[in-house]
Assembly symmetry: C2
């Protein structure tokens, strides 16, 4: 594979038609997936500059620093990017619940036969 985006060491995000990449956030201490969100170039730049996860809110059409109102910021320990540079993985230390429902993670239900079931 000779695609420099895949093999190289240049940050060159492949934004989609809406100007976004997907971001997955995991807890540095537990490895748990906390949430998925989206980033435009400004959100990625803000995240890297401040060390605090900042996304693009598609519903509100504006930059959204996670925790800006709740205080539950996500401090970025490490940021990784995937092979084709259209997805970012943030390894974070969360200041509180990551989910707007108050759950530690947005993934608080597993898919079980016939429906969903709560996870611990």
């Amino acid at each position: 594979m000779s695609d420099p985006r895949e093999t190289g060491l240049v940050l060159d995000p492949k934004y989609d038609a809406a100007g976004l990449v997907t971001a997955v956030v995991t807890d540095a201490a537990t490895g748990e997936v906390l949430m998925l969100a989206h980033m435009n170039a400004d959100a990625l730049a803000a995240t890297l500059a401040t060390g605090e996860a900042t996304f693009w809110s598609r519903s509100r059409a504006r930059l959204w620093k996670k925790g800006e109102t709740s205080g539950n910021i996500l401090r970025v320990v490490e940021a990784r990017i995937d092979c084709d540079q259209d997805a970012v993985w943030l390894i974070v230390e969360p200041a509180g619940p990551a989910c707007h429902t108050g759950a530690r993670s947005c993934f608080y239900r597993r898919i079980a036969p016939g429906g969903l079931a709560p996870v611990a």
Copy 2:
């Protein structure tokens, strides 16, 4: 929050305009994020029915069972869904490298000052 999609135990994925949800895949043994991909309703149904991760390939516009050619299937140990049901988390046992580049994970580079750096 009284939205039954968020609080209930009914599987009711919120597909986007293209009919897709995002799927994040982690290694059951290590917790490492292996890859991100997309699923339409058929891909999610196939994944749940077979216990082997199946996605929708946007580039090829067809169902894509991970490992169908490489043999590197992803056996699903548990599937979770997020608060608004537009993202799925698959916890898997990978039969081999998850990335088409041959890397264990697609996230083989971290974002460092001035560029990217390989991760172990």
